[in-house]
């Protein structure tokens, strides 16, 4: 204390103020504590929080439509869905371009599957049209090639559409590849990036765009150059469109490569046979004439959608706003209710069965109690699947329980009880599986209840029942609370057991989530259902806290 100076501040041994030095020491301690939990914190963040957040985000994400069909989505902005009329040629032309590129990349079926969640039938529509769309431009390919064979040559196209630098690089790259092949070496050099010819974008805008996409596709997907294959039929269609739209003078003024060829084509296109894109699509599938299809594309064009959440509560987002799903497709609300109801039944069964066991455990002699404890824990250590399958053997119609009942003469052989593939099976199997989660917290709370309270109550004249109900039971309520929360929250998310023993009437909402995650691949809907389930659990937890008080929950002595 001799360190206390005239300034009145307390200094530590090295002369710094005590407060500062204490803070420093504490900071070091805090940092050390943080460093100690850092591995766990990072682990939880990376492997738990981040994936869950990512998954939940999928419930509103809807990029796929506008990414796959960008031109169609843009063109549909001008279309009036109220008109009741199918969009015009311009929209079909945009759809043609989008679909062509998408089917080359083989992603058209994915957008079809996405839209199929909202309007059943769109998956097959996109698949069929994907096959048809490649042939839609054949008409123009044939006419250009009939006009001049040069249009069938890759070199013509590259000379016309690509910059000289690209043409040179591509030729060089091909030569290198040939040389490597002859020498028997592996060739890993990436093909050159495409560059359009100067000014061609102004002269032939659609063709330049289509050819650019073709060249990029060749480079990234096929790892080849635009010299390796004839352009897509889409490019020929685009050239026809451009030449029809271009002015006589504009083409005449062009003096770049292949100018003569282009002039010849310009002169000829007026006589070309043409086809309406709309007619072609309607021929591929008449559903394109259905206004509902277009409305669905339009409604689901935005990058984020409430659609999945609406589906998860049996509603849907249509052109007229939010409506109910058709009656025969409303299943989710029913499943949520069933899940909550059955979880409650399971929780109550666990309390009824677990309470006496926990009481015995807490009040028997140590040796016997330990033996009982092992019996409680033994199934806990057995694989979940084994226990569930064992219940299948027990409960099925030709199973152990039915056999015994028939043998005892309690049940007629022809009318064996149906105890599996229904709700009963799920409740029995899950009660058994979750029982330890009820018994353990109950036991640890009951152990702390002083037996002398009961004796005191009795010595004051209480009957056995009054002593139990007025003195013992209230003290064990925190254990019931802890056990119920554990069992209920575990039950609500269970899915293996209901899947195996639940049949169709005993399944939970989690079985639908699993179905959408692994079978239908509707991850958006699965995420929305999961988010709702999570919210339901949090609300119940909050309600429990308000009513019982979370401080009254004890997991251990």
């Amino acid at each position: 204390m001799s360190d206390a100076t005239e300034t009145g501040r307390v200094l530590s041994a090295d002369g710094t103020p005590l407060k500062k030095s204490l803070n420093r020491a504490l900071r070091v301690q805090k940092m050390r504590a943080l460093a100690l939990i850092a591995p766990l914190l990072i682990f939880v963040l990376v492997t738990f929080i981040a994936p869950i957040a990512d998954m939940l985000f999928r419930s509103v994400e809807n990029q796929i439509v506008s990414d796959t069909l960008p031109r169609t989505v843009a063109a549909l902005k001008d279309w009036d869905p109220e008109s009741g009329e199918v969009p015009d040629e311009q929209v079909f032309d945009a759809l043609y371009k989008d679909m062509f590129v998408a089917q080359e990349q083989k992603i058209h079926t994915r957008v079809g599957s996405r839209l199929n969640y909202e309007n059943v039938g769109m998956s097959s529509l996109f698949r069929k049209s994907g096959r048809a769309v490649e042939k839609m431009g054949d008409l123009y390919v044939d006419q250009f090639e009939d006009l001049n064979d040069a249009w069938g040559e890759e070199t013509t196209w590259v000379a016309l559409m690509a910059s000289p630098a690209y043409a040179q690089a591509a030729t060089g790259w091909l030569a290198e590849q040939d040389a490597a092949k002859k020498a028997g070496q592996a060739f890993t050099k990436a093909p050159p990036a495409f560059e359009p010819a100067p000014g061609i974008g102004d002269l032939l805008p659609q063709t330049a765009e289509a050819f650019g996409q073709f060249a990029d596709f060749m480079r990234t997907e096929e790892e080849e150059t635009a010299l390796d294959d004839e352009p897509w039929t889409l490019v020929y269609t685009a050239l026809y469109n451009d030449l029809t739209a271009a002015s006589e003078a504009g083409i005449a003024a062009y003096s770049g490569p292949q100018a003569d060829l282009l002039k010849e084509a310009k002169a000829a296109v007026a006589t070309f046979e043409s086809a309406s894109r709309k007619a072609q699509f309607l021929e591929a599938d008449e559903d394109w004439g259905d206004v509902g299809v277009w409305q669905t594309i339009r409604v689901y064009a935005p990058r984020y959608t409430p659609g999945y959440f609406l589906n998860a509560v049996d509603k849907q987002l249509g052109p007229d706003g939010i409506t109910d799903q058709p009656e025969n497709q409303q299943i989710y609300i029913m499943l949520f209710k069933r899940t909550l109801f059955m979880s409650m039944v399971i929780t109550v069964s666990c309390i009824l069965l677990g309470y006496p066991v926990a009481w015995l455990l807490a009040n028997l002699r140590m040796r016997t109690a330990n033996l009982l404890m092992i019996l409680v824990l033994l199934p806990f250590w057995t694989s979940l699947l084994v226990r569930t399958s064992a219940w299948k053997v027990m409960l099925q119609q030709q199973g152990v329980i039915n056999d015994v009942l028939v043998w005892l003469g309690l049940v007629d052989d022809a009318n064996r009880l149906i105890m599996i593939n229904n709700q009963f099976g799920t409740i029995v199997a899950m009660t058994h599986i979750l029982l330890p989660f009820m018994i353990l917290p109950l036991y640890s709370v009951m152990q702390t209840i002083n037996p002398s309270y009961l004796r005191a109550a009795k010595s004051l004249g209480a009957t056995n029942w009054t002593a139990f109900w007025r003195v013992y039971f209230p003290q064990s309520v925190p254990g019931i609370g802890a056990g119920s929360i554990l069992v209920f929250i575990l039950a609500i998310g269970y899915y293996i057991t209901p899947e195996i023993v639940g049949g169709t009437t005993g399944t939970f909402i989690s079985n639908r989530i699993a179905y959408h995650i692994s079978s239908s691949l509707n991850w958006g809907l699965a995420a929305a259902l999961g988010a709702i389930l999570l919210a339901a659990v949090l609300i119940l937890y909050w309600a429990y806290d308000r009513i019982v008080g979370i401080d009254n929950v004890k997991l251990g002595g």
Binding site: Q105, K106, I107, T109, R110, G112, S113, N116, Y117, V120, G121, M122, S123, S124, R127, K128, G130, N328, Q329, I331, L335, Q396, Q397, Q398, A414, N421, G503, T504, T507, R512, Y515, S518, S519, S520, L521
Partner: protein, 370 residues
């Protein structure tokens, strides 16, 4: 140089060739199949001899074929395809091929010629259904029933529609937890002619009609998702009649001698084969191609028929099919292609199902959950 060293170490010329090839081949493969008796037959006929011929190659089996499409989609989305070769049914291969998830194959290049010298395309004939599918077997989905059901008073089911007849043939049934085949069967028993089947099914009313027919037995039906379920349920006596793959039923009837018999009426033919996931790394692809060439040659396909009653996909394998490897019984009468077994039959409409699976599946699953 490498070849010379290998020769010098005293290996035979053939082994040297494969050792040279092994340089750029992965040494393990993950094959995906259906589990049960079928996967065992593939192990016995394909992988065991292959591993014996190629030392150091190991094979991991994954029994996920019934979820192959969704799992491959998920793997593709995650950018990490861990499978090398996947056994799928015809329609699934079509979907995978359409979506770019399966590799397109040059059959003449990848597959071996028939032992009788026939071309690959001729030898496989109609089983080459698309550019990605490497056929192995022709199988059928049909019904098996218990022969000891007292309530039937000695009646035995002779027609498909007996499955829907709860009056004469009471008891639990088992059907697959997928719309495919169930919908067709329901319509056939609801008076729809075979040639109109898919036209009817394509309309919403037709789909509802089919589901309404299935509604009549829904309460009595257990829905299976694994090919091993129905044989198990039949053997336990949990069901009296159920749909299953003919080879699984063969195994229950002949190998396990259970009181079960076949009902071949309106069996649905299907092809099963391999697809190679798209964009495999070069070393894994080289190994898979090497294996595929071996496992789909004439002899190997015929060998498989000695373990399970599925017909080989190659014409040149047919004459080599003889007797069961362990039981020694003649296999021909148990083949779905045996004329006595195919008075009425459907061939799985691959194109229709590839196009409509997503749509119909959504409706079917909602119906099932109701």
């Amino acid at each position: 140089m490498k070849l010379l060293t290998t020769l010098l170490t005293g290996s035979a010329l053939v082994a040297a060739g494969s050792a040279f090839a092994n340089d750029h081949m992965a040494s393990d493969m993950t094959l995906v199949s259906w589990g049960g008796a079928y996967q065992t037959s593939q192990q016995k006929a394909y992988t065991e001899p292959y591993m014996a011929a190629n030392e150091g190659v190991s094979v991991t089996w994954d029994e996920s074929s019934n979820e192959a499409v969704s799992k491959l989609r998920a793997m593709n989305e995650a950018g990490n395809v861990t499978w090398d070769l996947v056994d799928v049914e015809g329609p699934d291969s079509q979907r995978l091929c359409d979506e770019g998830l399966a590799m397109e194959i040059d059959f003449d290049d990848v597959l071996a010629q028939g032992d009788d010298g026939s071309d690959v395309e001729d030898d496989f004939g109609p089983t080459l259904i698309n550019d990605c599918f490497i056929p192995q077997i022709v199988f059928s989905t049909t019904f098996g029933y218990r022969t000891d059901v007292e309530e039937w008073d000695g009646r035995t089911p002779t027609s498909l529609c007996d499955v829907f007849d709860l009056e004469n043939f009471p008891g639990k049934r088992a059907l697959e937890k997928r719309p495919k085949k169930n919908l067709e069967w329901a319509l056939l028993c609801d008076g729809v002619a075979q040639e109109d089947l898919y036209d009817v099914l394509e309309t919403p009313e037709g789909l509802e009609q089919s589901l309404a027919k299935l509604d009549t037995i829904k309460d009595e039906t257990i829905w299976w998702s694994s090919g091993a379920d129905t044989p198990q349920l039949l053997a336990d006596g949990e069901i009296v009649i159920g749909s299953a793959y003919n080879g699984r039923l063969f195994s229950v009837i002949e190998e396990q001698s259970q009181p079960v018999a076949m009902l071949w009426d309106w069996q649905v033919f299907d092809f099963d084969g391999w697809v190679i996931p798209a964009d495999l790394p070069d070393d894994r692809l080289a190994r898979v191609l090497d294996f595929v060439k071996y496992a789909t040659d004439t002899q190997r396909l015929a060998d498989q028929a000695a373990y399970i009653s599925y017909g080989p996909a190659r014409a040149s394998s047919q004459p080599l099919v003889s007797t069961h490897a362990e039981l020694g019984i003649e296999m021909a009468p148990h083949m779905p292609t045996n004329p006595a077994n195919q008075k009425n039959f459907l061939v799985n409409n691959i194109e229709w199902w590839a196009d409509n699976q997503d749509d119909v599946e959504a409706r079917f699953q909602a119906w099932l959950a109701k």
